[in-house]
Subunit: 560 residues, 2 copies
């Protein structure tokens, strides 16, 4: 074992990760065979269980050894009797077409007869009937924090039935059904008779993408939305702008991207943004944009004069700028108009307002800011000034009937938050007491601290992400209910279109299962087996997910 | 700053990497601006120096501010007067076509007039004339350890001249010339008048790829060979088989891959192997195959019965197998025939015979092996048995007139090596004394220990690889001369076609410059600037190299 691994082990030890997560490793990086499942079980072997490739694992699965065969030329995804949705439901029609492709598309090259199935004993499954039970199926609406994603799936001869209260549950059930269908060595498509009752453990299951440190082409974002749907994520937290660049093209303030984007073609036009939102909606994914202020705003200053605080040195302006200037009225006039646009462009009920990592040194250097501090009676407590600013922004955004997400500092610095504010806990150091404090104060929390996927390390770090128990913090039952979910964050300092997909998947899948499946789904060996199958499936569906460990995918040669 | 980064800093501290390498980092992973060059200098700005994008930096560069313009419709790469190579030199003809594409190909969409250049003051560069000075230019040969890669390039109006003793130097000079040519904002191609005298510091500059832990499609290997040429690497160390799979299709022993490959289509046929070798040759890259024995051979046992040692427990065979059986004559009969094939299939003068990480426990359990130990008088020193085996293999391979590379254990365990054996030093713990020992014993060494690129970590780890000084080990001048180079190793446990390219590049570029450029080229800020440009150039040429840090590539939208 090389020294590097010894130190990595030490590192893991220091952050108190259980020893089981530290793979022992030979020099060539190969954990010894006994530490891992046998590398031969890559594909769904003849004796494998149908649930061996389900990810995330549904809440309740009952499967029978009895297999049904599907004929791609005959099998149909249809609206079932009594469904409030019909052929006019574009969202479901689109999903039917998509899932048909995922199940059968990669074997299209072969010719399908319309005659009887190959000489097999299995009876045939003819249809999947989808029944939406709510009066209004919600085909044209947007998913929300309170949307129902529950579904009930029965697969029996001759038809499978998928029932859900809303279309969002139907989308999750379609994903599960498609995961149950598998291809045998002879190219036959099979599904075991089964019954699945499923619903998410947490309502907010997000992936953060950062399009400021590096621009991400639209195609990368859409591919990632596909992968999110495969993993039952339901929130794209779009960290769209930051210090480094401002790719969001504003209608009211086009100079923000004209001058703040890396380049004139590295922007998201209103059309691009609408496309992302619609593509996400069709997959049951909310898009929460983050416009982080007052820090992380250097790129805003390029296209909006007099927005940032001029920094001083020995009584003279240095030419540098700090956070948004909290003193001038023009700041709030700008923000009022800007967030009016954002509130209308992004349909989600929530906007993320950032509020993290405000560096006070520039404010402290500025005479006008100091004067204002005195007038307001803030003394030298610049956290009060920060809260003053944030308070104003929160009020502005509230006036547009939007809920708010903020990073934990906004809570820590004692801004007066509206009761429905969602506080995102990100600081890795001691995040459980923070969860206690936030929920103890009655606020809703989203956990990201253990899931900063930009911090890469050698080996199977998915196990580390997987082994987090989000509710393992001190607090009452009421407090636990206030933790509504989590987010896998892939900050963009070292990520762009060249490495986004393999870096994010299947590592984020570990977070996906943790947030969807029951808290008792914790077996690493079982997870390894399912995750390996799931990764091969993602590959087949066009997601360049990196390998979990040594081995190969049975169908990889056919993949896109 | 998050705790994770604090620990990462500690980790770096423990392995005694200078503090300059530890980037301070905010939560979003963004080093503060002052710790890094300004993120605005991404492209070759108007006031940038022409050498700002050279990678690896040539030994001697003199450039003039005087710029020449190139017209894609007129500019020619040609054989110069007095060259021993002419239009019959397929290797150079192919390189001319390739480098023309790299310089101008991506702007093809625009229409080029044949008329005068745009209203610019610059005079025109009409040709690059390539002159091979040796009597035999070596167009049809293979590059060797002793090949000359030196070249001399002068760029002056109206023609540039590239002189090299052998074609291998011309290939390096073509790469350098193509790096000097840049495109301005108006789409004009410019080059500064310059003179470059260049040669490699080390003769062996390798990249190890592992096609056993994961199969790599031919295309991935060829793409990597392109990237290697862009970085002036000259050895592909092809770790082609290992425990996990045997993708090499042997003519004499086809069952090895029939049964030992992951799957029947995940193999390298003789045609594939020839293609890799020829593709590499055209780029001045040697292909050294590694057939690692007696350990790391589990996959060999599947297609070759009675090759591996049966393991015993309480006097009974367990059904498991250990390393190659060093006792039976059949083993050596097999190896004699097998390496006869390998010696003929791979034209390089060297074969890598592995010899690392032999686990003695199975040998110790086997009664026949124990009996043999007694007979040979090895006592209980199984390292002697290992050396006995290796010795036999070395003799077999020597009889085919092949030189040998081995991992350091073969030297450590005191096998009697032929004087020209190359010992590869890989153990990260205290590698400098090992370099002293190997070279002190008069053997040639190749260094890999600090360059295990499969061990990923957060941040700009290229600086760590870059800051290694290979000759910084105790020893005489004679000993220093015996260190002939190094290799960046990308073991395949967590690497396949989905993430190979962005994981390897531009991290391996740091190793490439360390092995090519002068020992005094160590400035990290300068390297950062050049590496960032170089990475964008690789992207433009179809290599999905990951970003060095925040920012964008000026021409990335045009990239493939």
């Amino acid at each position: 074992m090389g020294r590097a691994m010894g130190l990595a082990g030490l590192l893991l030890g220091l952050v108190a990760v259980p020893a089981v997560l530290v793979s022992t490793s030979l020099r060539h990086g190969a954990p010894r065979a006994e530490a891992e499942p046998e590398p031969s079980g890559w594909e769904l072997a003849a004796d494998a269980l149908p649930e061996d490739s389900l990810w995330p694992l549904p809440q309740r699965v009952r499967t029978s050894p009895r297999q049904l065969q599907l004929a791609p030329s005959r099998f149909q995804l249809v609206h079932g009797a009594g469904s409030s949705a019909g052929p006019g439901c574009g969202l479901l029609q689109d999903a039917f077409r998509r899932y048909y492709e995922y199940m059968f598309g990669h074997s299209r090259r072969r010719t399908w007869g319309r005659g009887p199935l190959a000489a097999r004993a299995e009876p045939e499954l003819l249809q999947l009937q989808v029944v939406i039970e709510a009066g209004d199926p919600g085909c044209d609406g947007h998913p929300q924090l309170t949307s129902s994603e529950a579904y009930h799936l029965t697969v029996t001869e001759p038809v499978a039935i998928l029932k859900a209260s809303e279309v969002w549950g139907a989308l999750r059930g379609l994903e599960t059904f498609s995961q149950l269908v598998h291809e045998d060595d002879y190219g036959s498509f099979l599904v075991n008779e089964s019954e699945i009752n499923d619903f998410p453990r947490f309502a907010h299951r997000g992936v953060l993408l950062d399009t400021s440190r590096h621009y991400l082409p639209l195609k990368s974002i859409l591919t990632n939305l596909d992968a999110m749907a495969f993993n039952k994520f339901n929130v794209l937290h779009w960290h769209i702008v930051d210090d480094q660049s401002f790719p969001y093209q504003s209608v009211y303030f086009p100079e923000l991207s004209d001058k703040g984007a890396y380049s004139s073609n590295l922007i998201y036009t209103p059309t691009d943004v609408r496309l992302v939102i619609e593509y996400a909606r069709l997959r049951g994914i909310r898009v929460i944009p983050e416009f982080d202020t007052p820090g992380h705003t250097q790129s805003w200053g390029k296209g909006q004069k007099d927005l940032l605080t001029p920094c001083y040195n020995r009584g003279q302006p240095t030419g540098s700028f700090g956070p948004v200037n909290p003193v001038w009225n023009t700041t709030y006039n700008f923000m009022t108009k800007f967030f009016k646009e954002i509130s209308s462009v992004f349909p989600d009920e929530f906007i993320h307002l950032g509020g993290d990592e405000v560096d006070f040194s520039c404010w402290k250097s500025n005479p006008e800011v100091k004067e204002f501090m005195k007038k307001q009676g803030f003394g030298i407590d610049y956290a009060k000034l920060e809260s003053y600013y944030v308070q104003n922004i929160l009020d502005i955004v509230s006036s547009y009937n939007k809920g708010q997400m903020v990073w934990q500092e906004v809570f820590d610095h004692k801004a007066q938050l509206k009761p429905d504010t969602v506080v995102q806990v990100w600081m890795a150091n001691n995040y459980t007491p923070e969860l206690s404090r936030v929920t103890g104060a009655g606020f809703t929390a989203v956990l990201s601290a253990p899931w900063y996927l930009d911090y890469i390390s050698y080996g199977q770090d998915w196990k580390k992400y997987y082994s987090v128990e989000p509710l393992n913090f001190p607090g009452s039952e009421e407090q636990k209910k206030l933790l509504i979910g989590g987010e896998a964050c892939l900050w963009g300092e070292f990520v762009d279109a060249t490495n986004l997909t393999p870096r994010l998947w299947p590592r984020a899948s570990a977070v996906g299962e943790r947030l969807w499946s029951s808290s008792n789904v914790t077996n690493l060996q079982d997870a390894y087996k399912r995750l390996t199958s799931h990764r091969c499936r993602m590959l087949r569906r066009g997601i360049a997910a990196e390998p979990v460990f040594v081995g190969y995918c049975a169908h990889e040669a056919r993949g896109p």
